[in-house]
């Protein structure tokens, strides 16, 4: 029987990521992991993590917060490691030594996904391993002290692109990894955020039911790195979605579908002003930087809606042909 996605029923399930982990107070990563594992509560799962906040804080010395089989080998190869585990599982299944329906999930940070682990991720997807790769995206190398990564947004202050008189934070745009993964032609790619948890859990469920490689990019606020309060991770996640800074969408077999459209698109200032990493943008004489950011977000959002439109009309045509 499939467990319904309501909190009352889910709360009766075992939490397979325990307390006692050493992630910072108010970190959103354990919340994201909890949501993923709850969505997968009907399956036995095997999880792999690359080096990152989640990995170093969930298995210090001989203490592990995982109640599922979990493997870590290095920073750059979580996807490759899990490919091996998944291949072994397939071989054992063929030999009749295992009969369980096991799901394989990689949960890695943005550094281990966007930059250092990109080649192993790309390879695992291309080899069509049956796994779900999740990136919990906190937009910089938070574990080692807030260095910029490929996921860091434009004009964010980090220790390796400090905002000052020379540069206003990271000068380059962030990499659109979700689109890069979609370009691999894999069956399912999605973007999610913990503030919209039913959407996140539905996407995890959907992904686990599809055979083959899947990728999810999940927004994960970090109060230490973003210089915010410890209690506003979910608030920031909601604002990121409502300002279209982090659109929620999925690409299923190449078809783009936006899963959440804010009723009223909020101006980007509302998201930026709560964070110390964007404080410098509110200094006098830097107004054009915010409008520049707003323009980038608007363009992205418009393009996404147009992409959805292209597919929507095609789907209608198909339906007409069937009729």
């Amino acid at each position: 029987m499939v467990t319904p996605l309501n909190l009352k029923e889910l709360s009766k399930k075992e939490l397979r990521f325990t307390a006692g982990h050493r992630l910072c107070a108010g970190c959103a990563a354990p919340t994201v992991v909890k949501m993923i594992l709850l969505a997968a509560c009907d399956y036995p799962v095997v999880v792999a993590s690359s080096t990152g906040c989640l990995e170093v804080s969930s298995c210090i010395s001989t203490y592990t917060a995982w109640k599922v089989p979990w493997i870590h080998s290095a920073f750059e190869n979580a996807a490759a490691t899990l490919s091996g585990v998944e291949s072994m599982y397939k071989a054992l299944k063929k030999q009749g030594k295992i009969d369980k329906e096991i799901k394989f999930i990689a949960i890695c940070g943005d550094g281990g996904t966007y930059d250092i682990g990109l080649q192993s991720l790309s390879g695992a997807m291309e080899r069509w391993h049956d796994m779900l790769y999740v990136c919990y995206n906190n937009e910089a190398y938070m574990n080692t002290g807030i260095q910029r990564s490929g996921a860091t947004p434009t004009y964010a202050d980090t220790t390796t692109c400090p905002a000052g008189s020379v540069i206003p934070g990271k000068p380059q745009p962030r990499k659109d990894l979700t689109k890069i993964m979609a370009a691999h032609g894999i069956p399912y790619v999605a973007q999610a955020a913990p503030s919209h948890w039913p959407d996140l859990m539905k996407k995890v469920r959907k992904a686990l039911e599809i055979p083959g490689p899947k990728f999810m990019n999940i927004f994960t606020p970090c109060n230490r790195g973003w210089r915010t309060r410890t209690d506003d991770a979910i608030l920031l996640s909601r604002l990121a979605v409502d300002t279209c800074f982090w659109p929620l969408y999925e690409v299923e077999k190449g078809v783009v579908r936006v899963t959440y459209k804010p009723k009223e698109k909020k101006p980007i200032e509302e998201f930026l002003k709560l964070q110390g990493r964007f404080r410098h943008l509110f200094e006098p004489g830097r107004e054009q930087l915010i409008s520049e950011l707003q323009r980038m977000i608007d363009e992205n959002w418009e393009r996404l809606l147009k992409e959805e439109e292209i597919f929507a009309s095609k789907e209608e045509e198909k339906e007409e042909v069937v009729k």
């Binding site: 909190l7 009352k8 029923e9 889910l10 709360s11 009766k12 939490l15 990521f17 325990t18 307390a19 006692g20 982990h21 050493r22 992630l23 910072c24 107070a25 108010g26 970190c27 959103a28 990563a29 354990p30 919340t31 909890k34 949501m35 969930s58 298995c59 210090i60 010395s61 001989t62 203490y63 592990t64 917060a65 995982w66 109640k67 599922v68 913990p194 948890w197 109060n223 309060r229 410890t230 209690d231 506003d232 991770a233 979910i234 608030l235």
Partner: protein
């Protein structure tokens, strides 16, 4: 804490969820959450959002906080919808 000679090869950890032995409640610096039962609508969002599994739920019903693990971030208090504008979770100064 075990010595390096007792660690299994490959740094394998054989006890699942052994991190529960680490009581992260000692991290709370100044504030701790208090649950006000009469304002609680049993939405269980605090249980879902809590990064430290410090909200106990039994048979679908919210119980009190687990202060052994609560790091005092305040996320639950901020997100609590409460009843008619009255929050069911408030952060209070903690004297240790």
């Amino acid at each position: 804490m075990i010595g390096w000679k007792q660690i299994p090869p490959g740094m394998v950890i054989l006890e699942a969820g052994s991190a529960l032995k680490i009581k992260t409640g000692s991290w709370r610096a100044a504030y701790k959450p208090r649950w006000i039962e009469e304002n609680c609508i049993q939405c269980l969002l605090c249980w879902l959002y809590c990064p430290d599994n410090a909200v106990k739920v039994e048979d679908g019903k919210r119980q009190d906080f687990d202060y052994e693990y609560c790091k005092g971030c305040g996320l639950c208090a901020l997100e609590c919808p409460g009843k008619k504008g009255n929050k069911a979770i408030v952060m209070e100064e903690e004297v240790r």
